[in-house]
């Protein structure tokens, strides 16, 4: 922009101050949870040095490209940058006001012009800013959240955020599970028998190699979610969890039940979360009168059992075990499922409460037919599930 020489002579002294400002900015980002380390700090200085100090916009874009690593950060960056550097701008202005106020004002004006020009050539997110979200807490807040009992989530905002976290957790699980399943495998393996057979055509020369195909060892997950009134506090959270699972595991299925059983896999794959809410609300309309877990499992076995259950399947039941049907029916059908699958995991959100004993009739009956009985009342307890979702 304008007035290069004067500007530089003015900034030659404060060059160090400018560097300090840049470092300060990276610190602030780190406090905001951005993955900014020493290396990123140095890179930020390199970028900043390239930019003219008056070129706030160039600095903005440069640092944004450098320091953001995902959409979430990308969306928060603009506001953070503005807050930090607007303050800086104000400070410079007051400091130099006596020396060359007129020139400063001219610079401001040309800066404003520059911005206008950019809107003219529309930019991503420059003008639109950030939607509604304030800065989120850093690492310590996240830790606290991980231990919070879901039932203590007070307001709608917290609940929404937790839903988001739960879904993300489910997505991450796949990544870790896959990695673990893969450590033992090394490279392609030649299938000797087939190779010898193929080489007959070439007079015994093994020109055409046959390879063993890699087998995908991902588990098939079946989630059965209790959405009865006693579970209403937790239902949406687990549906979000199920949504995360269903979207990353190719072979996952989710069902909800209280008096009837409904497959919700497709509804959960819907990209828009609001629509998911609507669909599910419609599905559960007109249900009333207790929870019949046993009968629902019977239906499940009858309709889906043969297709979904095999040695690679892991069934996850989420329920408080408050069953209004006969406990024997529940026990029988759960046993039937268990015989065909690798593992049955029962998650009970109540288990996280102090002093809870699984005394409900249904729960008592089910305990004999589950491999893992675990609490599911916080992010941490869900995270602890991971080893049980691995095949093997």
């Amino acid at each position: 922009m304008s007035g290069g020489a004067e500007n530089h002579s003015r900034t030659a002294g404060p060059g160090e101050a400018f560097s300090a400002r840049v470092i300060g900015f990276t610190r602030m980002l780190r406090d905001q949870g951005f993955p900014v380390g020493v290396q990123e700090g140095l890179d930020a200085l390199r970028v900043a040095r390239r930019c003219d100090i008056t070129d706030r916009q160039g600095l903005h874009w440069g640092l944004r490209a450098l320091l953001c690593t995902c959409v979430d950060e990308w969306q928060r960056f603009d506001e953070l940058f503005d807050i930090y550097w607007r303050l800086a701008g104000r400070r410079t202005r007051t400091r130099t006001a006596g020396a060359g106020g007129g020139r400063e004002a001219a610079r401001e004006a040309s800066g404003a012009q520059g911005v206008a020009r950019d809107i003219d050539q529309p930019g991503v997110g420059e003008a639109q800013g950030i939607e509604g979200e304030g800065p989120k807490g850093g690492a310590s807040a996240a830790e606290a959240r991980a231990r919070t009992d879901f039932q203590r989530l007070a307001d709608q905002g917290q609940l929404r955020e937790m839903e988001h976290l739960v879904e993300r957790l489910a997505r991450r699980m796949r990544r870790r599970i896959v990695r673990r399943a893969r450590i033992v495998r090394a490279g392609r393996q030649v299938h000797m028998g087939r190779t010898v057979r193929n080489s007959l055509r070439y007079g015994g020369l093994p020109l055409d190699l046959a390879f063993r195909k890699r087998r995908r060892e991902l588990p098939r997950l079946v989630l059965l979610l209790d959405v009865s009134r006693s579970m209403s506090l937790y239902s949406y959270l687990f549906l979000r969890f199920a949504r995360g699972i269903v979207s990353v595991f190719r072979d996952a299925d989710a069902f909800v039940y209280h008096t009837r059983l409904v497959r919700v896999t497709e509804a959960l794959r819907e990209p828009n979360i609001e629509r998911v809410r609507e669909k599910l609300a419609v599905l559960s309309l007109g249900w009333s009168g207790g929870t019949r877990i046993g009968a629902c499992l019977e239906r499940f076995n009858h309709d889906y059992g043969r297709r979904l259950l095999n040695r690679r399947t892991i069934v996850v039941m989420v329920s408080d075990g408050l069953d209004t049907g006969p406990p024997a029916l529940l026990a029988e059908h759960l046993q039937r499922i268990r015989r065909r699958v690798r593992r049955v995991v029962w998650l009970n959100p109540l288990l996280g409460r102090a002093g809870y004993q699984p005394l409900a009739g249904g729960m008592q009956a089910a305990l004999g037919a589950v491999d893992v009985f675990a609490p599911a009342h916080s992010l941490d307890s869900l995270r602890a599930l991971e080893p049980y979702l691995v095949n093997g």
Binding site: Q57, G58, G62, C68, Q121, P122, G123, R171, R174
Partner: protein
């Protein structure tokens, strides 16, 4: 600021309409020689950016399309096994030390270079496009990360191949899977959003100069309105261009001219049956009314 505008202009020359902030990022890619990670919904033109970059730098574009199960032999290099075997057969009768023969069959002549090896053995920096990186496995991602920090590939039989030139690397992702933090930190980042009205209009005019001012503006406004609706697959820029071209072929000059034909042509924009069913005639009329 001047050079950013200049770079933006060069991108424009190369057929890509970029906003200034993207031009600034791309310039940083060139200067810092860091890979660039582009994220955004399908159809916002992520792949096009790499192609435009190749045209701007006047360098070859090497493309690696990722998929689940992509392995080293199809991404980096592979020995031409059949060729080697036949050579051994031919050499059997020839005298000479076995060691030399072995060296011969593991020479570059028998090496099949796949995109990644190609990319680092060019005389001048090419643009390497690693498309849909989120579709590969974590294993491959880790390999790529190593390559992107050292720019060398080690081939056990041949030794380490050092990069003759450092490629401009562009990675694209639309979030099928989360990428590792290490890879994200290694890269510069840019989130590509759906274009604004003005930008999309410029794109349409750039690709279809024959389209009139009126129809062009209508088309873009219609598509932009469509993106606001809750569709399973929102139309991208490519769909806008397809549709605009189709309308040109149908001799439509204004969207409200022929509702029946318009409805037929919508298949260019809505690629799933569900979306076509979900969009009622009333909604289409509403959108048309708003744009004309």
């Amino acid at each position: 600021m001047r050079d950013i505008a200049d770079f933006q202009w060069r991108l424009d020359e190369a057929g890509y309409v970029a906003e200034r902030s993207l031009a600034a990022t791309l310039m940083l890619v060139a200067r810092m020689q860091r890979p660039l990670l582009l994220e955004g919904e399908a159809g916002v033109g992520k792949t096009e950016i790499a192609k435009a970059l190749a045209r701007v730098f006047d360098s070859p574009l090497i493309r690696l399309q990722c998929y689940e199960g992509l392995d080293v032999s199809s991404a980096v290099y592979e020995w031409n096994y059949q060729h080697q075997l036949l050579t051994i057969r031919l050499q059997e009768s020839e005298p000479g030390p076995a060691q030399e023969k072995e060296k011969h069959i593991f020479s570059e002549a028998f090496l099949l270079k796949r995109p990644l090896l190609q990319a680092i053995t060019q005389p001048e920096s090419p643009v390497l496009l690693v498309d849909e990186i989120d579709r590969t496995d974590e294993e491959f991602e880790a390999y790529l990360l190593e390559l992107l920090s050292d720019y060398q590939i080690s081939i056990p039989e041949l030794g380490t191949v050092q990069a003759t030139s450092i490629p401009y690397v562009v990675l694209t992702s639309n979030g099928t899977r989360e990428l590792s933090d290490a890879l994200r930190r290694r890269c510069l980042y840019h989130y590509v959003d759906y274009p604004t009205f003005d930008k999309e209009l410029r794109i349409v005019h750039k690709h279809l100069p024959a389209i009139g001012e009126q129809l062009g503006a209508q088309v873009v406004a219609f598509v932009q309105g469509l993106r606001e609706l809750e569709l399973r697959k929102r139309p991208g820029i490519a769909e806008t261009l397809d549709w605009a071209a189709a309308l040109l072929h149908l001799d439509i000059e204004s969207l409200d001219q022929d509702p029946a034909r318009l409805a037929d042509s919508l298949t260019c924009l809505l690629k799933t049956k569900e979306d076509r069913d979900a969009l009622s005639a009333g909604q289409v009329d509403g959108l048309v009314a708003k744009t004309t």
